[in-house]
Symmetry: D2
Subunit: 173 residues, 4 copies
């Protein structure tokens, strides 16, 4: 369910590494395969990384980091408190923190972590993809395996769900 | 307490009007002078406009609008439900809606309306201003008339308060 | 002939001045009224400023400036050599330089100064306005007083000319 | 010599293809391997594509295209006339055209094609990478195999040259 954000994240990590600099990568513990966190991109890129969950204290974790940059995938699952930790970290320890995620869930409701990131971030950047109708996709929907839209349910459901990115007009139709 | 967002809003309205097109302008009912809503800019621009409060139903209000564009100032005071109305309006009635506001309050906490706007908006644009230290200001603080920082209190307090825009580092210091 | 860029420039100057900081403002010597350079905005703002012409050496001029920021209006009339001076200035003397101008002339041809700015600038920002058709205006046309389009002539003609901002589709039609 | 622009281009193509839509991809004829155009990314992605050279007439070529999007890599080698063809194409045939390239050469001088693109494009987007010093890289330098900087020579030299992206301060030092 993405526009290439994991591709972009892995490219940024690659740029730093090519310059001889370390990066600290994290993904959500919801994205584990065989017990290991994995950032993977549908275009074929993949990297094993540490995971975070709601108990992770980023301020403590990054206090003495040597990383030139912190990159967090699936950042919509951060808690607002963790977003605040990362924000303090960026400004008090002076380490760039880049968080990649989606803004709203399949009902168009905010992820609390995404809302917190959008409110505090110094720079906001959009990774664009298209809706089937050709317009810019800004939202997403949950479907059955047969492509039928599901309008109600839990905010987070990864394993058995299929997501599709859509524009706002198609979302409301 | 702004970086020129009211100036920018009034300039956009002016551009539309110069092209012979009407715009629908609103500000929060908290910004009334002598019972009339006023959008004013410290650089010297000023325009009387209708106000909205939490009971305003934008979807109904704009259903039959002739306006070429809807412009809302002090949009941090919108409710999340109103943001949803405006979003549906933009995409189902096809009228551009531009909302101008600040992201976080004097404690660094989100305004619910701003969080909702940031999560749903098709385009996000930043109006930049500077902190006294010279860095980009992304947050704001509340002070006494003597310039002393106030760290606790109600989220919304307009009349007797003084605000100053600061960068995140100065915010945390 | 603008989308509000002079408004935006004067607002930035105002923000710096309100923070107790000086700015160095310039406009082209083509924009003099009674021998004095003037930055003015159709919405009603106005400020007298020094002018530059093609003989101005910005690197020498700004070497010992106390200004916290350099703001240049009608920057399409800079020479590519002046753009290079300003670029060196920004990076070797560490003073922010913001240039405001239009990209192409009434034939859709680049202004040499604008092309040089777009190629070297660290940050590019678009000030948006609309075409009469409602789309985003990215180009401009020259017309007679009666509104008839003029397709040939000198690149620079200020006094007796009328300009209108249009989208690319209307430009080519 | 890139920040991931080929990665980004191939990701956009992938997004369109996943939505069941064709894209028209091109790279410069300077980027042929064994007689075939190749877009490749240091992170490991690769795709064979048609090439363009200075004799290509894009307006004729794309007049009857079924492609949902045109993607051009190494777009700094376009001629200004080709940029104009692509611009007309985008606005008269209504097909999105995305061009990926670098702005300036190893001497800080514009590529004529890049200057033309920057002047006419409807949307400008920056793909960021970092200088060895940690700042944002906006320029590039040519070096010997031993890493020694070369300051003079032809604008275009691909085979035997090594390039490195640098920030403007390091460029001028």
């Amino acid at each position: 369910m993405n526009a290439g954000k994991s591709t972009y994240l892995l490219q940024v990590a690659h740029n730093y590494n090519e310059n001889g600099r370390d990066v600290a990568l994290f993904t959500s513990s919801l994205y584990m395969q065989d017990g290991v966190g994995v950032i993977s991109s549908r275009i074929g890129l993949k990297r094993e990384v540490p995971t975070y969950d709601e108990s992770t204290d980023f301020f403590a974790l990054l206090e003495q980091t040597d990383a030139a940059c912190v990159l967090i995938d699936e950042a919509q699952f951060l808690t607002p408190a963790q977003v605040r930790q990362l924000h303090r970290c960026a400004h008090l320890h002076n380490v760039p923190v880049m968080c990649f995620g989606i803004r709203s869930d399949f009902r168009g409701e905010p992820f609390p972590g995404s809302a917190a990131l959008l409110v505090l971030a110094d720079h906001l950047e959009e990774i664009k993809t298209i809706c089937r109708c050709g317009k810019k996709a800004t939202m997403n929907i949950r479907t059955t395996a047969q492509g039928e839209r599901i309008r109600e349910g839990e905010q987070i459901q990864i394993e058995s769900s299929i997501y599709r990115q859509v524009c706002a007009r198609c979302f409301y139709d």
